[in-house]
């Protein structure tokens, strides 16, 4: 009997092991199959969570209206946990077994770079929700991305620093693909703005305390500002550690800060953080004539009505843009993969959450630097930054 029980326990445990990796599949039907590889769990879950929820919400709405030109969408979401190895195997699975029409995601730059060549070889349309510029530079024929470029974010940050008379900075980055790419851009663009990077440190993506490195940087009195580039909760931890140590130089974050949950966990320490982001976070305070306003407010209301426990974030917006672009292209040319690819490349003036997209064969991102707005945190909310 005990033997039986113990094998039951073993089976239960191994089932849980397997369940941890199993995909979250939507209803099956012979429709347009759209795959999505998102970091729903793990360190990048603040990205993948809202992205997955946004896609589910949109697909539900599109199908309720009868689909795209009468074809319903069949959404297959795979949770990669921000793990590049998993992203690779899910990509192969989506291409070879599920035979999807296009893939949305992954959420993170590291994962996207790992699958860039795989989708290119398979001639599979990929609409990445990750930010690093290397995803679309050099251009791969089938790879597009919806978030703003990190080089634009860096230029926006350095521009603000120049206005504030800041020229000597410290750079902190997380050890993820996004962090590494950001570090590269920060170092590359610094000379153009006359900015000196006096210290540069990399922390583990699972770091839970940065007070030691804050002490080290703080001892250098020449540092006038800190730039942090990551997508992990350490964004909030750094803010706390700096303010607790009594270091009050301006703290700049990347566009990876665009989830109000980072502000919530940072609490009072998050006040005054300056970062570039799309206009979604401040949709309600935009002027009426802004081309994005109507769409931003609609997405915001839809999302927060459907998921009352969650607040809208730029990351969910990236998935929104990816599916919007795909749908726009399919509506134009129908269900031919090659034609849809060409159609995406020629889309002009499509308003999305991140900005107004103008694609071209040279630009698979389609956004210019004006898609960024400098934001700050004021009274626990995002607000437009004024000097």
């Amino acid at each position: 009997m005990k033997r039986v029980l113990s094998s039951v326990v073993t089976v239960v445990i191994s089932f849980c092991l397997v369940a941890g990796f199993s995909p979250v599949s939507a209803a099956k039907a012979e429709n347009i199959k759209v795959g999505a590889i998102l970091a729903v769990t793990g360190g990048a879950s603040f990205l993948g969570g809202p992205e997955a929820r946004t896609l589910e919400m949109m697909v539900e709405a599109i199908n309720a209206k009868g689909g795209i030109n009468g074809n319903k969408i069949d959404l297959i979401i795979k949770d990669s946990g921000a793990n590049p190895e998993k992203a690779i195997s899910f990509t192969k699975q989506l291409i070879e077994e599920e035979k999807v029409f296009a893939i949305i995601g992954p959420s993170t730059s590291g994962e996207t770079m790992k699958i860039k060549n795989i989708v290119e070889e398979a001639k599979m349309i990929l609409l990445s929700c990750a930010a690093a510029e290397v995803i679309v530079n050099p251009v791969a024929k089938y790879v597009f991305k919806t978030p703003q470029k990190d080089s634009h974010a860096v230029q926006k940050i350095y521009g603000t620093m120049k206005d504030l008379g800041i020229s000597k900075i410290a750079v902190l980055t997380g050890n993820t693909g996004f962090g590494n790419a950001g570090k590269g851009q920060l170092e590359k663009i610094a000379p153009e703005f006359g900015i000196d990077i006096l210290a540069s440190e990399v922390y583990d993506k699972k770091a839970t305390d940065l007070s030691a490195v804050v002490a080290k940087l703080m001892a250098n009195k020449d540092i006038q500002a800190v730039v942090n580039w990551s997508i992990v909760p350490a964004q909030g931890i750094l803010a706390k550690n700096m303010r607790q140590a009594g270091w009050d130089v301006p703290l700049f974050q990347s566009h990876g800060f665009g989830n109000i949950k980072y502000v919530e966990v940072g609490g009072a320490a998050a006040e005054g953080i300056i970062f570039p982001a799309g206009r979604l976070l401040i949709a309600n305070s935009l002027p009426e004539d802004n081309p994005q306003k109507q769409l931003l407010v609609r997405y915001l209301i839809d999302y927060e009505t459907k998921y009352p426990e969650d607040k809208v974030s730029t990351f969910g917006g990236h998935a929104y843009d990816a599916l919007t672009i795909l749908v726009a292209a399919i509506e134009k040319v129908g269900l031919d993969k090659e034609k849809v690819r060409d159609a995406i490349e020629n889309l002009q003036g499509v308003a999305g959450t991140a900005g107004v997209f103008n694609f071209s064969p040279q630009d698979h991102n389609g956004l210019d630097i004006n898609s960024f707005e400098m934001l700050t945190v004021k009274d626990g909310k995002f607000a437009i930054y004024h000097k």
């Binding site: 969570g49 839970t208 303010r243 607790q244 609490g267």
Partner: protein
């Protein structure tokens, strides 16, 4: 390289950072030790107790004042610890060490998945016990969050309390008797199985308390356990398995080395240093810094 110069303030700043990491590692290591002493196994779900304590307390604060929420969370975690032992371990007849270890790894995965489904993927934190995210107190010129003092104070109290418990109460002595020689203890009329359950309850309890006091500083999320378990395991080995005071010394040592390493090496090397120390210790003193090789030789594992 002017910022490499060590001022007294900077020294204190590093020291406190190190003590904070160190004492948390030590508490996890003590959790390992308590269970190791009564069962001879390493409970790899120890980090999950810390996670459960912190996450439960955060949920409870919505319904009750924080001190009560923490007390309730610790109690709940202790009950979970007892249940885990009763469901997965108690009924096994002289199980092999390997089997028990695999079971604890299974429990840790189970607990993580359960937490993911209960609380979702996002990071949460308890509010600071005193002040908020920017409050700091000045000690010898260095600015430190009061929460750091809470962590150090509460953890020190727990260590002292546990030592007294094991030394001066009959229950504590019975547990130690089981650790020394289980069969002899059973012959003396001690119910060894109950002692094992009790060790899980105690481990879960101290883990949960640590999970609550550290939550404002480090945040809590469903997958914080394994990282803590690895560090705690390093410390337990470093001090010598089974020896709780040695674990405190080893924990502080590791924490302080990690913190000061940042002053000379890039931050990225911090975890490499912990692992290098573990390897070094395993080569040079496999029974730990404070352990005796003779005693280690008598243990099964």
């Amino acid at each position: 390289m002017q910022y490499l110069r060590m001022t007294p303030e900077l020294f204190i700043q590093y020291l406190f950072a190190g003590i904070t990491y160190g004492i948390i590692y030590a508490i996890v290591a003590i959790g390992f030790n308590i269970i190791y002493n009564t069962t001879g196994i390493i409970n790899f779900a120890q980090g999950e107790f810390v996670m459960l304590g912190g996450m439960t307390a955060i949920t409870m604060t919505a319904f009750m004042p924080m001190p009560l929420a923490i007390a309730v969370a610790v109690l709940i975690t202790m009950v979970i610890g007892a249940l885990i032992e009763m469901v997965f371990i108690r009924w096994l007849e002289s199980p092999s060490v390997l089997r028990m270890i695999i079971i604890t790894i299974g429990i840790s995965i189970l607990a993580r998945e359960a937490a993911l489904h209960t609380w979702g993927e996002s990071v949460r934190a308890l509010p600071y016990f005193i002040g908020n995210e920017v409050t700091s107190v000045t000690i010898l010129g260095a600015k430190i969050s009061p929460q750091v003092l809470w962590v150090i104070g509460v953890c020190s109290l727990m260590v002292a309390g546990l030592s007294l418990f094991f030394k001066f109460t009959s229950l504590g002595r019975e547990m130690r008797a089981c650790a020394a020689n289980r069969r002899a203890a059973t012959l003396c009329g001690i119910n060894a199985k109950n002692m094992v359950t009790l060790s899980f309850v105690l481990s879960a309890g101290i883990g949960a308390v640590a999970g609550c006091v550290m939550s404002p500083i480090t945040y809590s999320d469903y997958e914080m356990g394994p990282n803590l378990a690895i560090k705690g395991f390093t410390v337990a080995i470093l001090g010598g398995l089974g020896n709780s005071l040695a674990a405190v010394a080893a924990g502080l040592l590791l924490g302080i080395i990690e913190a000061f390493s940042v002053s000379v090496l890039p931050l990225a090397f911090q975890d490499a240093i912990a692992t290098s120390i573990l390897l070094l210790i395993l080569f040079v003193r496999p029974h730990g810094l404070f352990g005796s090789s003779e005693a280690a030789g008598l243990k099964e594992f």
